[in-house]
């Protein structure tokens, strides 16, 4: 069995695309660069699907257990005797699944962008960045080594920085891309420290070896070594989780995600729905054998996930920018995936949470990218992100309307759409582990249905149609072929494909393929259990319908009735303001400004003072010598004295 030869092509083809389009795209290919990028990715997707077929149905399973296969491993650099840095490809259920998800969604976005970004001046650059992003993401999911994970992790950050800031002439896009980069980088520092802690105790950077080492010989070391009374293992994993939480926009590191919606909408579909933001979930799943060793970290994962899911759902109910609604909804759904991992065990029945989380990741990728692309089509037509500029669009864009409805039903958890099955499993896992988590999750799923259908009705129903569309074509709206409004076939096709996936993906018996220990899990479907979630979902939909289907006073009445709560949620619980307060007021004022002040006044002042006291002599030669050098020497000497005092007497 030789996987290696073609699997390497899956990430390498997008890399080739990046090099080709990045170097020559603007000069030679121009508009055809979209086609080139798409074709290269089509091959990648084909290979990914073939790999998945081979792995799941032909030779991945040995004695009923899915193996973790290292398809390629190349020792890139040996740092020291036992720590080496490899570049490789690992095949196990989750990495193969991610290969399919990433290539597939990326392909859809590539196709959609052919229409959406048409005529854009930097069309080739856009496709080059897309290819770079796809490459980084693929490299990340197949990593065998923590260093490889970290490197691609940062590369994903870089390429998303480039993509979010694609409209670099818009100040808001620039600010957003910088915010996303710096916030996630801030979280990554946790990841970096976590890696170093794990590598220090596990004596390796290779994930497999690391897990084996920690599980066997080093377990005593890492659990007994403590820092502030918490074991090194818990510290390390919590740090890693902070990194994951930053990328996955978990509370309280989520503040960059809504702003990142400044990027082109297809980019949001790719990065902020299906791929980059689930990297954190994937990371936890990848290191899951370690996470299960320490319950306290799993509890952190659970509660951070749950708070994010709940909080984001509430905020989503109040936002008026459709992309921001989707952004918060993404955060909420990823929260689901996170806490599903948190409540999961490693083997047997208990691993339902793990399977459910991966299943939800899989289905969510389809319906969320569908929602984003649908939103993209809408924005393409009305040139606005605000709900109030929309309404009544169902007549103008039938394909978008139907597919959007399917995706909304799926995310609301209505059978038989994909979201129903995966959410069902998550709720079941939560139910078995912790009733409070279950209660919150259930309520959140009702909220999800409500805000998604608020979105749906506001876009497609409500008014007669956006005033600009109605007015522009008012003489004879029926004469026009409104199919045109939806854009070219390249924009409709991905919507239809993703819509179809959203309908069928739920029927995959996921537990048979993706489990934490590789042994298939019998999925038992309990009809009675699903009554509550579905009832909550339908309740949410009906409520949204009552309030938003027709133009009425109800929305504003309700928001006034809710008063402070509505306002707080509308302002996203003031979390951005809190951060601004901390960074601007506290860090800049308390640290940065005094530092500058010291520089200006104390250091300079002292120097000047010394210069002045050195007398008129310095005034005579002031032209050449500012007099500060004496001060420098004083500092120098002071430094030596202080060092000597500290190290000779205090801190021997």
């Amino acid at each position: 069995m030789n996987y290696s030869s073609y699997i390497a092509l899956i990430p390498l083809l997008p890399l080739a695309g990046f090099a080709l389009l990045g170097l020559f795209g603007r000069k030679y290919f121009k508009q055809s660069s979209g086609i080139i990028g798409t074709l290269l990715l089509l091959v990648s997707t084909g290979l990914a699907l073939y790999t998945a077929y081979q792995y799941f149905f032909v030779n991945g399973k040995v004695d009923g257990v899915y193996q973790s296969i290292t398809a390629i491993k190349y020792t890139w650099l040996s740092f020291s005797g036992n720590v080496s840095i490899d570049m490789g490809i690992i095949l196990d259920p989750i990495s193969v699944m991610m290969l399919v998800v990433v290539t597939f969604v990326s392909l859809m976005v590539h196709i959609f962008s052919l229409g959406y970004m048409k005529g854009e001046e930097r069309f080739a650059t856009y496709y080059a960045f897309l290819a770079l992003f796809t490459f980084s993401m693929l490299g990340l999911v197949v990593s065998t080594n923590l260093f490889q994970v970290y490197m691609f992790w940062e590369l994903v950050g870089v390429s998303s920085y480039l993509l979010i800031g694609f409209y670099y002439d818009r100040p808001s896009a620039v600010a957003a891309s910088k915010k996303a980069f710096v916030v996630t980088r801030f979280a990554d520092l946790g990841f970096l420290v976590g890696i170093l802690i794990l590598a220090y105790y596990g004596k390796s950077l290779d994930i497999k070896t690391l897990v084996e080492n920690i599980n066997s010989t080093e377990l005593a070391n890492i659990t007994t070594a403590s820092f502030f009374g918490i074991s090194a293992l818990t510290w390390g994993l919590t740090m890693v989780f902070i990194g994951g939480a930053g990328k996955s926009a978990m509370f309280p590191l989520h503040i960059w995600l809504p702003d990142a919606m400044e990027g082109p909408t297809p980019v949001s579909a790719l990065i902020h729905a299906a791929t980059m933001v689930v990297a954190g979930v994937y990371l936890v799943a990848r290191l899951f054998p370690l996470f299960t060793l320490t319950q306290s970290t799993l509890n952190i994962v659970t509660f951070v996930g749950l708070i994010s899911a709940f909080l984001a759902a509430i905020i989503a109910c109040t936002q008026t920018d459709i992309k921001r609604v989707l952004a918060y909804s993404t955060m909420s759904q990823i929260g689901y995936m996170m806490f599903a991992l948190g409540v999961s065990g490693y083997t047997g029945e208990a691993e339902l949470g793990y399977t459910a989380s991966m299943f939800h990741l899989f289905t969510h990728a389809f319906f969320k990218s569908l929602l984003f692309l649908g939103a993209g089509a809408v924005i393409h037509l009305v040139h606005s992100n605000e709900m109030k500029d929309m309404g009544g669009l169902r007549k103008y864009m039938p394909v978008t309307h139907i597919t959007f409805l399917i995706a909304c039903l799926a995310i609301a958890g209505i059978p038989p759409f994909a979201g129903f099955f995966s959410k069902e499993e998550i709720l079941l896992a939560a139910y078995h582990s912790n009733k409070i988590v279950y209660a919150f999750a259930l309520f959140t799923s009702g909220l999800t249905a409500f805000y998604m259908f608020r979105l749906y009705f506001s876009i497609f129903w409500k008014a007669k149609g956006p005033s600009m569309l109605v007015e522009a074509h008012s003489p004879s709206p029926l004469e026009r072929d409104w199919g045109e409004a939806e854009g070219p076939i390249s924009m409709k096709l991905p919507l239809i494909i993703l819509g179809a996936c959203t309908v069928i993906a739920g029927f995959i018996p996921f537990g048979k393929y993706v489990t934490s220990d590789g042994i298939p899990l019998e999925s038992h479907f309990d009809l009675v259990f699903s009554i509550a979630p579905v009832a909550f979902g339908i309740g949410g939909i009906l409520l949204a319908m009552w309030i938003y289907k027709k133009e009425s006073e109800r929305p504003s009445r309700i928001s006034t009735a809710l008063g402070g709560l509505y306002k707080t949620a509308y302002h996203k619980f003031y979390i951005d303001e809190i951060y601004m307060f901390i960074t601007k007021k506290i860090i800049f004022n308390l640290v940065g400004r005094p530092a500058a002040w010291i520089d200006r006044n104390i250091v300079d002042g002292a120097m000047n003072g010394i210069a002045w006291t050195t007398g008129k002599f310095s005034a005579m030669i002031k032209g050449i010598q500012s007099g500060r050098v004496q001060g420098y020497a004083l500092f120098f000497f002071g430094g030596i004295i202080v060092l000597a005092m500290i190290f000779l007497y205090l801190w021997k």
């Binding site: 020291s80 910088k178 520092l189 420290v193 530092a595 500058a596 010598q625 060092l643 021997k652």
Partner: protein, 461 residues
């Protein structure tokens, strides 16, 4: 000894050129010098000998030859970059004579196996630098920088010499190997003399609190000298610092580990805090390079083969990254005289290629993959983490975020900000172009190809 002899030969050749009655055209002499420096660089890779000379005063090994090659390469790149600036200058041979004298000093310092030899090398590498700082002869700032440098330098040398004499008093020898056998942390005199020595090193690498001269001198000096100071001069002292700490002062490691910890944290934090607010590009790079030194010290605290390897690797990467940044700045400064961060607004519109080079250099300094700086910083942290001191690692990681913030500020100015009068299109002569190419290739290749690190690691075993 061959590398030292070659540099000496070039110095004398330049002297004869200067003294000869025939007037050389500036372009010709620059080209000749560049060719000589290139030959000097290439020859460093052949006939590498190991052993000691002059009664154990001077030693050489493959590792030292490699370190000298890095310095040679950096000097060559700087010489290529300063083409536009020196073209208008009357005293070209003198400039290179001074520069090569300092280089020779660094070589002796690297090869020294004796405190006196070390001191000799250090002085030879410092004093001509002051004259070089003054090389913008008409500018007052330049003279001021030179004055400040020579004064501070003399002060630090005095204290260093004081430390050396005390160490001699405490151990009765100047030979490195013999000193190493006699050191213990119990002896306060030894610790104190070590502190004085460390301050001398700290001055040269501008570690806090011995860094105060840096910003003024960097800002006032010509760009070529600034880059020479911040890259070559610092790099050479760091090479020596690693080997001295690991070999000579290993008996005091319990003490110096804590000192480095303290100095490293101070250096990173203060370097970064000041870099945040700088408006002059040279001053900005000066403070950011202070922060980089703090990072390098983390690698040194690792006290292992990996520690030395990662430090040497990082310095190599740092040579490429910092020189690429300085190269662009020097072109802009020579063509327009503009050096403010705000002057770089809209730079991408007029000079896309230079913008990309500067951006890649800054990304490498910030440690963003796939540039070499990312790998370099990761290795330093990995080596530093070998001691299990996670406070240090966490502080370092936090500083990486801060530094990313201010490097991105410049990138943003280049690519995104509007400017009514951006720097006009710059036509670079051939030699700066070659320099840029070498640096950019270095930034990308040394990171992606593992060979460089593996080679350094193999030299240390």
């Amino acid at each position: 000894m061959k590398q030292e002899l070659l540099v000496t030969a070039i110095i004398f050749l330049l002297l004869f050129i200067k003294l000869s009655t025939k007037e050389w055209k500036v372009e010709t002499s620059l080209t000749v010098i560049n060719i000589l420096l290139f030959l000097n660089l290439v020859s460093g890779f052949f006939y590498i000998r190991t052993g000691t000379l002059f009664g154990d005063m001077f030693r050489t090994s493959e590792l030292l030859a490699f370190e000298k090659n890095i310095l040679n390469l950096g000097t060559f790149i700087i010489s290529l970059q300063s083409y536009s600036w020196l073209k208008q200058h009357k005293h070209v041979p003198e400039f290179f004579m001074l520069m090569l004298c300092t280089l020779l000093g660094m070589f002796f310092m690297l090869s020294s196996n004796n405190l006196l030899m070390f001191y000799l090398g250090l002085e030879l590498s410092s004093i001509p630098l002051a004259a070089m700082a003054n090389f913008d002869l008409e500018k007052r700032h330049s003279s001021e920088a030179a004055m400040k440098y020579i004064m501070s330098s003399a002060f630090s040398s005095g204290l260093l010499l004081f430390g050396i004499s005390m160490l001699y008093g405490a151990t009765g020898t100047l030979n490195f190997d013999e000193i190493a056998g006699q050191l213990t942390t119990q002896n306060s005199l030894q610790v104190f003399s070590f502190i004085l020595l460390l301050a001398g090193f700290g001055f040269k690498i501008s570690a806090v609190p011995f860094h105060l001269w840096t910003a003024d001198v960097y800002e006032g000096s010509p760009v070529a000298v600034t880059s020479y100071l911040s890259v070559i001069s610092k790099g050479s002292v760091l090479f020596v610092l690693v080997s001295v700490l690991y070999n000579v002062f290993r008996g005091l490691d319990a003490s110096w580990y804590k000192m480095l910890f303290l100095i490293s944290v101070l250096t990173m934090v203060i370097g970064n805090l000041f870099a945040l607010r700088q408006q002059n590009m040279k001053r900005f790079l000066a403070f950011s390079s202070i922060a980089q030194v703090g990072f390098i010290l983390i690698g040194i605290t690792g006290e292992s083969i990996e520690g030395s390897a990662s430090v040497i690797f990082f310095i190599m990467v740092y040579v490429f990254s910092n020189l690429a940044a300085f190269g662009v700045i020097s072109l802009v400064s020579a063509a327009t005289g503009r050096e403010g961060v705000d002057d770089y607004k809209g730079f991408y519109k007029t000079n896309p290629l230079l913008s990309w080079i500067l951006a890649i250099a800054l990304f490498s300094l910030a440690g963003v993959p796939p540039t070499a700086g990312f790998f370099g910083k990761f290795f330093l942290l990995l080596a530093g983490a070998g001691k299990g001191n996670y406070w240090l690692i966490t502080i370092a990681a936090l500083n990486m975020v801060v530094s990313l913030y201010y490097y991105l500020r410049v990138v943003k100015a280049i690519f995104m900000d509007d400017n009514e009068s951006p720097v006009e299109k710059i036509h670079a002569p051939l030699s700066p172009k070659i320099a840029m190419l070498v640096c950019t290739a270095g930034i990308i290749l040394t990171g992606l190809m593992s060979g460089a690190y593996n080679y350094i690691h193999s030299l240390l075993k």
